[in-house]
Symmetry: C2
Subunit: 525 residues, 2 copies
């Protein structure tokens, strides 16, 4: 029997950067070819980046994507890679008869060999729940693609196709498939556990096929793709698994659907939840900075836990030398606010300066008479003004340090602390902020390094310090209760009745639900 | 033959205000009953308001909607209205077998008589283009509802069902329908012309039926429903037409599908495009203010055309006594900026004050050294700080005065002039701003009133006044060219090639396309 060497190329494309993405593909193909690969499979939409959202409905964008695909075919031909086949993801025009209203393109997988197209597959199941809106933007396909290559038979499907019942996936076994190639753009979720592996194993069993599941990696706006590409044989044994949160190239020798071996066993094991969450956040932050053309970030350092964790993540993402922290004390700021902020900056080795806001606020209040809330908000907004001015003058991206819990209950000043180019903690509830801060310090200790986050920032009661002696729990329930309630109401979309049954106090439920509903307009901004 | 008196109730529901919406419905039903109506038809989702977006997938919301519907049935029964039937729009739970992933409910029309449900219809065609995302959030239905009432046969469908081919609409004729009731949530578009009337006439002809087309009216977030409800007979003759941009109640006596008469002929005629555009904007602004619980607005008055038009629209929407204008001159502001702003305020009779920003900016710049762009942006942001402080202190909604053209090319300062609770001109290109300003002055003259907008604000070259002597055309092409280009590139999604063919200059195309693409991140905020 022939042995086919399959490469799973886990790349990090940038939405809209067609030339850069093509270079990534060619680089990975050459690397795979040097290692003797016969077939290289990439993630979903690796040619354009993913998700392309409404760009999918723009004629000029699909034209450019198809043109980049054609250029790639020429470049692959000129590279003289023999029998090497390549499977890439790219949007392609649907035939005029299939276009439906808004959508003009398929989400496709294209098989190329020596510059010649062997076939293409059009994604059948188009997800339109949660973060996805593909049903709106793509035309669905209906036919499985199966092709022969060096004596083995390969079928191709895309991502959601294997999460839903029916459709082309059901034809894999009938088509005598040896290996099913699944191109994915599957975002990281902290609670996803190992559902992907279970799903891939189930597919192997139900369709009697080996499966090569290739995911993208990298942050794209609000999403983080975690990689974690997987290969299993038809018996459902895990053959190889790629790294999470980093590009990777897996090489597997297939003699048959049941007989497969990884070339150099990387023996990647899944890390724990804290490691995954922290690395997802760091990758999302790094890619947001890089993909938007920034080299550095600026953020306010309050001495509190949110800004401390943001600064540490930013240092891990782009290097402490590219992180600019500014302490902006007011007359209500406690001494420890400044000392904790400075301590943090010294531990990290990031840039640090102090810009007191007292004089700025006083000048403003002398000219314009304000009520209490307006005066509190003014402090937050004056700080935002300083950060934006620094960002503008020195070219930094501004980081917002607000967390998911604050966003949910509207515990922030609109255009004050909610201001910024990127909010690293927007999907991290307050209790998880503490947990990750402690985890990150533990990692530092384990590595024999200095703990980046001052103990005091972790242990002191959280406070916005907008009034003398104010702490968050004056106006909010304890964060453990608050986060658990929000999880039920927002995440699981439970009703008040269901929350009461779980033992939450009625007054607390009413207070939190009303805060969430009232904060809706702040979040929409 | 019996005569059935049909009432088309054009109401203005508020999304989520179930009690208020129910009161609107009852009030309209009583009014119709007093006028002898036998059947009252409302717009789409009049029970919950429309669009409810992702609320449609929240179990507790659908439960509350069904409960409000049940309460309405009881209240209608207790009102002792005899044989009077009522058709309302409301989301209802789909049967468990029909639920698909995210969606749990139908977009339904329910027929009630003396508190008893005669039947319900589930919307079949769920639009998911442009502003709509219903396919994601609702479960489609497949069956036409036809019911008999006082000797005539009525069929019921919802909005998009009559814009698409196939589905239950095709059964109307087979079901021997006399009058088809269409419940709509159809937003105003300035270029919609009279497509609705044409469509309703086509439906009458193809299915041999009279048609009662009832639309909602009112602003809801970014949308404005314009009313303009219509009744035609089976011969395609227009029998009655409701007002645009106001609640209304049409009464029509049907003897048969071909024999129908309006009770008191309102002889509403469609007004011209400028009237429609201006009234849509005023209604959208008024409802945004009211539905979000505000009573007054604050905005910066620069002496320019954008802020002038905003102030006039706000005065028309909620009364000049509830409009607070602030002139915020800098050292670069010309004398006419202040005099034109003050002139405007006097013409309108709105509140007016001056808050110079020179001292505030100087204090800031003395403390923090800034580059040129940062210094320009600081002026815009300091103005925003003043508006937000006033909004906070005095409880006004802040209006942003930026127009659609500026938003498209990113000609605004993020968190500066782009700040605000509502942007009345966000869908109005700059050339239309001038056109509407001139139109509004003409209306004032025709009514023998003072022209609200100073001639100078209309005629002077537009300038952001962030540098000495700066005018917009230093960095932008003429607005006539710019708006025409944006119409092609953004609205019609044309490519550079198509724009070249229309005769636009290549350098101008490149410059504008690059501005639009780079401004994407500002718009996403």
């Amino acid at each position: 029997m022939p042995i086919v060497r399959l490469a799973l190329a886990q790349t990090n494309p940038v939405v809209g950067d067609l030339e850069g993405n093509r270079k990534q593909i060619l680089t990975a193909v050459r690397e795979a070819s040097n290692q003797g690969a016969d077939l290289v499979v990439f993630g979903e939409m690796c040619v354009t980046g993913y998700p392309i959202e409404d760009l999918a409905c723009r004629d000029s964008f699909i034209r450019a994507a198809e043109s980049s695909l054609a250029t790639l075919a020429v470049e692959l031909k000129e590279a003289n890679l023999g029998e090497l086949a390549v499977v890439v993801g790219c949007p392609v025009f649907a035939s005029p008869a299939d276009k439906s209203g808004w959508a003009i393109a398929h989400n496709a997988a294209i098989v190329l060999r020596a510059g010649v197209e062997l076939g293409r597959y059009h994604k059948h199941h188009l997800p339109n729940y949660s973060v996805f809106d593909e049903y709106r933007n793509f035309v669905p396909g209906n036919e499985l693609l199966t092709f022969e290559h060096l004596g083995l038979r390969f079928s191709t499907v895309i991502c959601e196709d294997i999460w839903q019942e029916g459709g082309p996936v059901a034809q894999i076994k009938n088509n005598n498939t040896d290996v099913t190639l699944v191109l994915n753009g599957s975002p990281f979720e902290i609670d996803k556990d190992d559902r992907r592996l279970a799903l891939v194993k189930a597919l192997a069993a139900s369709q009697d096929t080996a499966v090569a599941y290739v995911n993208l990696v990298g942050g794209q706006d609000d999403l983080v793709f975690d990689g974690d590409s997987i290969a299993v044989n038809a018996g459902g044994d895990l053959i190889a698994r790629a790294r999470q949160f980093a590009t990777d190239l897996l090489l597997i020798d297939f003699e048959s659907k049941t007989d497969a071996t990884e070339l150099q066993s990387s023996s990647t094991v899944k890390q724990d939840d804290d490691w995954q969450a922290y690395n997802a956040l760091v990758l999302g932050l790094r890619d947001y900075v890089n993909k938007n053309g920034f080299k550095s970030v600026v953020l306010g350092l309050s001495g509190g836990i949110d800004s401390a964790l943001c600064a540490v993540m930013a240092s891990d993402a782009i290097g402490a030398e590219n992180v600019f922290g500014i302490s902006m004390p007011s007359k209500y700021s406690s001494d420890h606010s400044m000392s904790d902020a400075e301590d943090l900056a010294q531990r990290l080795g990031c840039h640090y300066e102090t810009q007191a806001i007292g004089n700025l606020v006083a000048t403003f209040e002398n000219q314009i008479a304000l009520g209490d809330t307006a005066a509190e908000n003014l402090q937050a907004r004056m700080r935002a003004l300083i950060l934006m001015a620094k960002s503008n003058s020195e070219g930094h991206l501004t980081l917002t340090t607000g967390n998911k819990t604050e966003l949910a209950v509207g515990y922030s000043t609109i255009y004050g602390d909610s201001v910024g180019g990127f909010a690293p903690l927007k999907d991290v509830e307050k209790t998880l902020v503490w947990q990750l801060a402690k985890w990150r310090n533990t990692v530092a200790i384990a590595e024999g390094k200095i703990e980046p986050i001052p103990e005091n920032s972790i242990t002191k009661p959280p406070s916005a310090e907008l009034r003398p002696g104010q702490i968050d729990q004056d106006s909010l329930p304890p964060y453990e209760v608050l986060d658990a309630l929000l999880e039920g109401y927002v995440q699981r979309r439970e009703s008040k009745q269901q929350l009461l049954q779980q033992g939450f106090d009625e007054a607390t439920i009413d207070r939190v639900l009303s805060l969430v509903d009232r904060a809706e307009w702040k979040r929409r901004q």
